[in-house]
């Protein structure tokens, strides 16, 4: 197509304005809670994510060879120590089971409410977000394995995040390190409530905690169960700094996550029937907002 300089310049201006308008509209409409993927995005993610998995798999195999065969000199000594630790832990597990049974009996007695049962789906991490602005992890399980949008993701150490974007075979987790992920939390000792957001240097910031609440260093922070995403009582982090002024009504609390994100390899996704109910509730709220705007 041959265009004169003026025509080309005019066309360029029109295309620029259209693209900028479309992008600005896209930014304003972008949902911060979940990302529904298009069919094309599903196909592209399911096609390209195996490449990422291949790279991770190859590295893990090589690392595993070095760790389990070449650098395995002290295995026998470690084994003896672990056997004694296992017997100690077995005793502890027995005690905890007794407490669990007692707890269940007391809850039944008080009719405390029905606990939601979760199915755990184990998944491996295949990649991180390619932009350092976002703290997102890609895992090798998707909707075909039973995972749903906004399912909670945990490890044995605590909360990792929730499912933000989902395809048939892969899913993206918005971690608690991301500033756009907000978790309703409580401090275990004082039961102080606040909102946790991703902050700098691999830490999170707990906001809106009343200044008079006596939160201390090393206090444990748990999920509160509010917010419709995370179940109650999951470990989130440890208080590592308290910013309390002599004025104002709130204090800011820096929390170090209990999960070591730099060494994360496997995670468990908690799925319950409630996930669909939650989605329906969000949709109903969005529709109600839309009606109010009209």
């Amino acid at each position: 197509m041959n265009l004169s300089v003026n025509e080309g310049s005019r066309l360029k201006s029109i295309v620029n304005v259209l693209v900028l308008s479309l992008a600005l509209w896209g930014v304003s409409k972008r949902d911060v809670n979940v990302k529904e993927t298009t069919i094309f995005e599903n196909i592209m993610m399911d096609t390209l994510a195996p490449l990422q998995r291949g790279v991770t798999f190859t590295h893990n195999k090589i690392a595993s060879f070095f760790d389990h065969y070449l650098f395995n000199v002290n295995a026998s000594k470690i084994n003896v120590s672990l056997v004694s630790q296992v017997s100690e832990l077995e005793k502890e597990v027995f005690n905890l089971e007794q407490i669990k049974d007692e707890n269940k009996r007391l809850k039944d007695l008080l009719e405390f409410g029905e606990e939601v049962s979760y199915k755990k789906i184990l998944a491996q991490i295949v990649a991180w977000d390619s932009s350092s602005d976002f703290r997102v992890i890609r895992i090798n399980k998707g909707s075909s394995h039973g995972i749903r949008l906004q399912s909670t993701v945990i490890t044995a150490n605590g909360v990792v995040g929730y499912i933000y974007r989902l395809t048939e075979h892969f899913a993206d987790i918005l971690t608690i390190l991301d500033p756009s992920n907000r978790v309703d939390v409580i401090v275990n000792r004082t039961r102080s409530n606040g909102i946790l957001e991703g902050f700098a240097g691999g830490k999170c910031m707990m906001k809106y905690v009343t200044r008079t609440d006596p939160v201390r260093l090393n206090d444990l922070v748990l999920t509160s169960g509010l917010g419709n995403i995370y179940p109650k009582g999951l470990k989130v982090g440890i208080v590592s700094r308290v910013e309390r002024e002599s004025y104002g009504i709130t204090q800011n609390i820096v929390v170090s996550p209990t999960v070591d994100f730099s060494k994360l390899e496997e995670v468990a996704v908690l799925v319950s029937d409630g996930n669909q109910k939650k989605m329906n509730e969000w949709q109903a709220l969005d529709e109600a907002d839309g009606d109010d705007d009209k």
């Binding site: 310049s9 066309l11 930014v27 790279v55 977000d129």
Partner: protein, 178 residues
């Protein structure tokens, strides 16, 4: 600056996207395995800057959309904010075209660094509007410094590869007159 015919765009853009995909896989899967998850190399920025510096076509904005869309498969950033930054930078480049000459690798590195800073300012402004947190922008700035330096250092080599893909003819590497 090269005027490119519209029908030549699709195959060349396709090869560029393939290069982007390989680099995104390296950035998102390979680097984190060595504990480098705090810093990510934004190769999409490098490609968008190349398109802005080297090509003159009315459909440049649409090419940026395509690059950013494929980048968004590897990140939840989406294509929108990068597209806004990319198109605005290309508009700025079009006004500075007469004074931008890639006469040596050093000039390429410096010019790339300068435009990455403009990209950072635009993107940070958009992020600030969404998050309302200045602390996050400060933290982003400290990440931006090493990431942008790496991008600037690889720019002369990377641009020479893309020169071949897009058939940009210049004397020597990025205009080096040997």
């Amino acid at each position: 600056m090269m005027r490119i015919r519209s029908r030549e765009i699709v195959p060349r853009l396709f090869i560029t996207i393939l290069i982007l995909i390989v680099l995104e896989v390296i950035s998102s899967a390979f680097l984190p395995l060595f504990g480098i998850s705090k810093y990510m190399i934004p190769f999409n920025v490098l490609i968008v800057l190349f398109l802005g510096f080297k090509l003159e076509n009315p459909y440049l904005a649409l090419m940026i959309v395509v690059v950013q869309y494929f980048h968004s498969i590897f990140t939840i950033e989406g294509w929108e904010m990068g597209t806004i930054s990319g198109v605005l930078i290309c508009i700025i480049i079009s006004y500075l075209r007469d004074i931008l000459h890639f006469t040596s690798s050093i000039v390429t590195i410096l010019v790339t660094q300068m435009f990455q800073f403009i990209w950072f300012v635009i993107l940070s402004s958009l992020l600030y509007l969404k998050l309302g947190s200045f602390n996050y922008i400060v933290e982003k700035f400290w990440r931006f410094i090493p990431e942008s330096i790496v991008i600037s250092l690889v720019a002369p080599f990377f641009f020479s590869v893309l020169d071949k893909v897009w058939g940009v003819r210049e004397e020597g590497l990025m205009g080096d007159r040997n």
